[in-house]
Symmetry: C2
Subunit: 335 residues, 2 copies
DNA sequence: TATCCCGATGTAACCGGTTACAGCAAGAGC
DNA sequence: GCTCTTGCTGTAACCGGTTACATCGGGATA
């Protein structure tokens, strides 16, 4: 047996559907006893309003669409956690769609039209053309770390260049010279900017950059560590473009009997929750992605309330020095 | 300017809306040149179909609702990752709703009606009455580790009792006797069952159970570790009801200069990705929550295809012995 | 008592799609 | 040339709600 509709309730309560709608939605112009009667009948029939139909007629869904590149790894999980927290505090539902690194995934944006009131898109590696092409026009959209786009959307931009530069400075201050950068995949905006910052700092200090390309996953870190271990003039620091790669390397160095940071310092980027839990704890740049996610929801909400917002808001990552680059202050004393 | 509707396209293309609908949905009974013309006009107007309206008339949303207790911590993130992977492989969207430990959150299930074709609910600590009350009837629903309910829904049940029992056996085999259990919050189904398994095994071996109650978060683990450290006859093993608490304790023990596992063994439950990355790597029971999530989506899909499924499927966690309980095989040699 | 006003209720249009059914034109068969 | 079929297209009902507007009845007022 299908679900009861408002018409079923109206029939059973012997009133019009308009009255049922008004009674259930708390409009004032309904006589008290009629309202109670309608509510009783609705409960008896197990009536649950059809939210889809409701949004259609109200042109309001109370939902926002979230597009992430991936859910693998803690970084995007953290982003989602931040978004989710703020969204449910505001009574907004979340419609998820991620493109698993596949550019075609951008098409799924089309399916969001009519289901959400606004969009939050995080897509550091997507072709802007593609994104724009499938972006339902006139849908408020907040971008996080996306490629430059013609559209004048509100955005969050991470100052990757300055942050990577600062990390290199930190490593140099800690006495390192042969600093290798394990980058993210080419074409990814964050990856490219971190490379730029790394190169700038190295060059400024008269050091020659050396870049290995990874994939932002643990495996890239492991593989890179193995590659470095055997080299004649071994690097004395590895700066990975994200924490997962750094941790992969950290573990691999450890297994191979190399001491971190004594033999080689390791630094990451993002400050995922895991970073402070590995041994030695990982030095990294804190992005605060959960906070950004939450703030993105706030901006979306403000726009939906009629606000105007096309600002580009810059996020400045903070250095979080931990034991993996600091020989003197081990957070975990040797066992 | 609002978005173009199918009527705008029809007007501009000088055909009826029915023809537009048919042309764009690839029905065969449309003349080829008409179809092309309609497609061209639609593209020119930037027409994107209104998915909400479409689902209303088709009574099919291609979305499934997901209710989780929380997104904090890796456990539910992993579950969501598994669900998401399978869902997007099948072209299903995900509507997220989590109740942040708040029982009232169950009401948000009502908002799913008319927006999703089915539900996946993971709620180890929710009052079944409440859940049933707000569960839109006749919506296919797969439950994961929920309290027993009258309804005959397809379910996944984790064999927590046997698993906790097996973990105690493992600790005893490793020579431990003063084994303390750090449990999850009372009322949580998983927590209660793990307590039961722990007690059963302890009693069987003539050991007296000792249970401290935690909250499934890292902080509980830290606090418990501090409490244990000062005691006269210190415990020689801590079995936490989930990995996050175990890791909190692990770190706290380390900081306090206690060697794990030499001075005290530590074991967790869940096998979150983090578990193998901490030092020493954490012994735990692998639940495979991402796989369960994926499988839940498959079951949902099968039901939507007309299948019948009211089975209770049991998940048997597997012991993953690692360095935190095995004095002899350290995965990370001392630095 | 007649008039006005006001609050409660019903009718019907609308949100943006899909599709059953009707209509219509062209080609086939006689 | 006339009917029958076939294939394309349009009309209108429907999905399940909301709400502008019309209607209706009763109390207040003159």
């Amino acid at each position: 047996m299908a679900h009861a509709t408002i018409r079923d309730v109206a029939r059973a309560a012997k009133v019009s559907i308009a009255t049922v709608s008004r009674a259930l939605n708390g409009h004032s112009n309904v006589r008290a006893n009629v309202r109670e009667h309608v509510q009783a009948v609705a409960t008896a029939l197990g009536y649950v309003p059809h939210t889809g139909a409701r949004s259609l007629s109200l042109a309001k869904t109370n939902a926002i669409g979230v597009m992430l590149p991936d859910l693998h790894g803690e970084f995007y999980s953290e982003a989602l956690r931040g978004i989710d927290g703020e969204a449910s505090a505001r009574g907004l539902q979340l419609l998820l769609s991620n493109m698993h690194g596949d550019q075609r995934g951008a098409e799924s944006l089309r399916f969001m039209r009519g289901r959400v009131d606004a969009l939050i898109i995080m897509a550091p590696d997507i072709d802007p053309e593609r994104l724009l092409a499938h972006l339902p026009a006139s849908l408020p959209t907040v971008l996080i770390s996306c490629p430059d786009m013609a559209a004048d959307h509100p955005q969050f931009r991470i100052d990757n260049t300055a942050a990577a530069d600062a990390m290199v400075e930190h490593l140099i201050a800690a006495g390192r010279r042969r600093i290798v950068h394990l980058s993210g995949p080419r074409g990814n905006r964050d990856a490219e900017e971190r490379i730029a910052g790394y190169c700038a700092a190295m060059t400024r200090h008269g050091l020659s950059p050396r870049i290995l390309t990874g994939n932002f996953d643990e495996e890239s870190g492991t593989a890179t560590a193995h590659a470095l271990i055997g080299e004649a003039e071994r690097a004395d620091a590895l700066f990975a473009a994200n924490d997962m790669m750094a941790i992969g390397a950290l573990v691999a160095f450890h297994r191979a009997g190399l001491a971190v940071p004594e033999d080689i310092a390791v630094a990451g980027f993002d400050d995922i929750p895991l970073a402070r839990l590995v041994t030695p704890a990982l030095t990294t740049m804190r992005v605060g992605i959960a906070e950004i996610g939450a703030e993105a929801v706030s901006r979306v909400a403000a726009i939906l309330d009629g606000g105007d917002d096309t600002e580009i808001r810059w996020v400045v990552p903070q250095l979080v020095p931990r034991a993996s680059t600091l020989a003197d202050t081990r957070e975990f004393p040797p066992a």
